[in-house]
């Protein structure tokens, strides 16, 4: 079905975005088309869905199968979000409107139909057939390539920033740099991101793991032949770079070059104000094992003297996984005092600054870490184990941790809130996490309350109900048991 059949429309971009498709013979638009219809049913060359997907700017959409839309279960909850539900459904499914008297303005119904189709599309592309049809588009390169030079034309996939319509337009996700980009063509500035949702892109790469680049850069060792892009999971001959040991992870060879700023051939030093500060954003470790050198809270495991409780920046810090921090503004002034007291003394024995070369490299301590009352093992176990009560320090052996680690990585795809200590509450997900999800991290939160001013403390108490925090108040979490009522913990 080509666009030529559409009435009153040429293939140029001048056509309005929403033009009524061919309908039954009583519809006036039929006259423009100049075709004769023998029967009263729309034998049109194009269904509304096919027409919608063929509009300029709608290339990212795939056609939702009719049985998906017709099944009401799949549309649970959408009737509340879409006005003129019945009319919109009729339009999308090319059903003749029964009640011709109260047809509201067609343009309103069209907007409604578009919204409806978009939201159905968001759900459809998460199903197996939906993923497949998007995979075909992906392979055809319909979504474009990453503009980042060192991604070397990695193909992109559409992604939304929110699951609710009206927030932002559709973006494109690059699996190589794990970042989102605005589409370069302005045609797509009218497509809502919610029509693709936040989940689809990642579910896509989880389903088609051969398209997803691995998180480390294999092939640093010299291989005779040029590296291939797809490495089989079984890991064959000597020329194929090593595969991702995590079989649930990405299997594709990543493009991992990082741009190095140079002036007259000399690297700009990081000590310069304009020196490279963001190189870490695109770095990949050389081996898979390097990834394990950082624990769940984003700290180096084997660095001596790193602190655990008052981790100035436990976990992915700074503007990290978003939501936790902004609720903690109220607490910052008080926390600063706490921090400063602690930081006074230990600040003295600064570690030798050195250009660390690898994760096992220097003792790069956290910035102005406070004194830790807890041992590393304790912290480790808190970070890793899901149960809140930590084992005594001597207990956790490295082998146990390794085992745990492997088991963690073996089958795990998604991070639960407990494991990824600073995970954001899944507000935008369909299944928004109930406060109980965070119960496992309540204890960690207690430790985190003391930290450097620049990192807002995670106040799980803000999210967790009061009763849960009470649950942990009795916990002995090492010598520095923070006073439960002393520090401000708004609940």
């Amino acid at each position: 079905m080509s666009r030529n059949h559409l009435p009153g429309r040429d293939n140029g971009m001048q056509a309005p975005l929403v033009v009524p498709p061919p309908r039954g013979p009583d519809d006036q638009a039929m006259g423009d088309e100049g075709q004769e219809y023998a029967s009263s049913t729309p034998t049109s060359s194009l269904t509304w869905i096919a027409w919608f997907c063929s509009l300029p700017g709608h290339e990212y959409f795939c056609e939702v199968t009719e049985d998906f839309i017709e099944d009401d279960f799949n549309l649970t909850g959408l009737s509340a979000m879409v006005p003129f539900w019945k009319e919109a459904m009729e339009m999308v499914l090319d059903v003749e409107p029964e009640d011709t008297h109260r047809i509201p303005d067609v343009s309103i119904v069209e907007a409604s139909a578009e919204l409806l189709y978009g939201l159905v599309h968001q759900r459809y592309i998460l199903t197996r057939p939906g993923l497949q049809s998007m995979a075909e588009k992906y392979e055809a390169g319909v979504f474009g390539s990453c503009l980042r030079v060192y991604c070397t034309s990695t193909r992109l996939i559409p992604c939304g920033r929110s699951d609710m319509p009206g927030v932002d337009t559709v973006k494109l996700f690059c699996p190589n740099c794990n970042d989102i980009y605005t589409p370069s063509s302005s045609r797509f500035s009218g497509v809502d991101g919610a029509f693709f949702g936040t989940t689809f892109a990642h579910l896509f790469f989880h389903t088609y793991r051969e398209y997803c680049p691995a998180p480390f850069t294999p092939g640093r060792r010299t291989t005779a032949a040029s590296p291939t892009h797809l490495s089989s999971t079984s890991g064959s001959g000597p020329n194929i770079p090593p595969v991702n040991p995590n079989q649930w992870g990405g299997q594709k060879r990543p493009e991992s070059r990082v741009y190095v700023p140079k002036i007259y051939g000399f690297k700009v030093s990081e000590r310069a104000k304009s020196g490279p500060r963001m190189a870490w954003l695109r770095m990949r470790p050389p081996t898979f094992e390097d990834l394990n050198a950082v624990d769940n809270r984003g700290r180096w495991i084997d660095e001596p003297g790193s602190d655990f409780d008052d981790d100035p920046k436990s976990g992915p810090s700074g503007g990290r996984q978003g939501r936790f921090d902004e609720d903690d503004d109220n607490d910052e002034p008080i926390e600063e005092d706490e921090e400063e007291e602690e930081d006074g003394a230990p600040q003295g024995h600064a570690w030798p600054p050195q250009a660390s070369s690898g994760p096992a490299g220097g003792p790069g301590r956290r910035i102005a870490g406070g004194s830790g009352g807890r041992t590393r093992a304790l912290q480790h176990s808190i970070g890793r184990r899901k149960r809140p009560i930590p084992p005594p320090p001597n207990d956790s052996s490295s082998s146990e941790e390794e085992e745990f680690d492997q088991e963690e990585d073996g089958g795990r795809v998604l991070e639960t809130a407990e494991e990824s200590a600073l995970d954001t509450p899944a507000e935008e997900g369909f299944l928004s996490s109930a406060p109980s999800n965070h119960s496992g991290v309540g204890s960690q939160d207690a430790k985190r309350r003391r930290r450097k001013p620049e990192l807002a403390a995670v106040k799980l108490a803000n999210y967790v109900g009061k009763d849960v925090t009470e649950m942990f108040s009795g916990l002995q979490l090492g010598s520095t048991n923070p006073p439960r009522g002393g520090a401000v913990m708004p609940v």
């Binding site: 990834l291 921090d325 660390s356 910035i367 998604l414 990192l455």
Partner: protein, 273 residues
């Protein structure tokens, strides 16, 4: 763009006022700025270009509008045209890292003539052209973003065919060294906001991540302009499935952030500004 005064009244209509103005007004040459005449006329600045460019003398005459029109036949003229463009490009690469050249490019930068960063979290940060190599005929021009410190290919293919050697590898870094006030913050909306306005947003996590960023830098208590810990407040995109982060990617991001923390620790220890 400063228009050169006309030497001759009846100059060639194709070439407008001067060859340079004509060259700059061509489609696809929007990235170039005008090289001042005295810079070109000073032969010292063109040291070494005579071996790189064929028909050097004639090309130079053409650029400086000293070429007599009727001197050459058509085919020779074509070759001289090409050489002239090539020569202008190489001169341009040297020009833009001089102080006056930087001023010219600064004007273009402020108008976002080079485009904006396609990365969503860079919030429309204007880009700067850069080459991957200083040798001509190797790589085309790329665009450097000061916020994510990464390079991108231009959106349009026309710009994508300009040689990167006409801009050089040093230019954006020289620009930021000379004008450190141009250095964008790594957090929050861009200083040079998009003129069209960001799409209307409801109060939701998008705004909140920006607030976090600003909070992060405010709470640091650092002096104005300290960049050591700037990267701490950089926003990141967190891939999620049904609201839950993906383990592999989150692990990689944690590793990256740990590397960042290490760098910051190093910088703070060395008391880098």
């Amino acid at each position: 763009m400063i228009r050169r005064e006309e030497f001759t009244s009846g100059s060639d209509s194709d070439y407008s006022n001067s060859w340079i103005s004509w060259f700059l007004s061509n489609k696809g040459n929007e990235y170039f700025c005008q090289v001042e005449e005295d810079y070109i006329l000073d032969r010292f600045n063109l040291t070494g270009l005579n071996v790189e460019v064929q028909h050097y003398t004639h090309a130079l005459d053409l650029i400086t509008d000293n070429l007599a029109d009727d001197e050459f036949e058509e085919e020779h003229r074509g070759g001289i045209e090409l050489s002239a463009r090539f020569l202008y490009g190489l001169i341009h690469a040297r020009w833009i890292i001089t102080s006056r050249g930087l001023v010219k490019m600064l004007e273009k930068f402020k108008k976002a003539d080079f485009g904006r960063c396609p990365r969503v979290l860079c919030h429309g940060q204007p880009l700067l052209p850069v080459g991957l190599t200083d040798t001509p005929y190797e790589k085309s021009v790329k665009l450097y973003c000061g916020r994510c410190e990464d390079i991108y290919s231009p959106k349009s293919t026309r710009h994508g065919s300009v040689d990167g050697a006409f801009f050089g590898t040093s230019f954006p870094h020289m620009m930021y060294l000379v004008y450190p006030s141009l250095l964008p913050s790594k957090a929050g909306p861009s200083d040079h906001a998009t003129p069209g306005g960001d799409p209307k947003r409801r109060k939701d996590k998008i705004e909140d991540t920006q607030a976090v960023g600003q909070l992060g830098s405010a709470g640091l208590g650092e002096e104005q302009g300290s960049t050591a810990t700037a990267a701490l407040s950089a926003e990141r995109y967190r891939p999620k499935i049904y609201g839950f982060q993906i383990h592999e990617i989150a692990k990689l991001q944690r590793w990256q952030e740990a590397m960042r923390d290490r760098q910051i620790a190093r910088l703070v220890a060395e008391q880098v500004d």
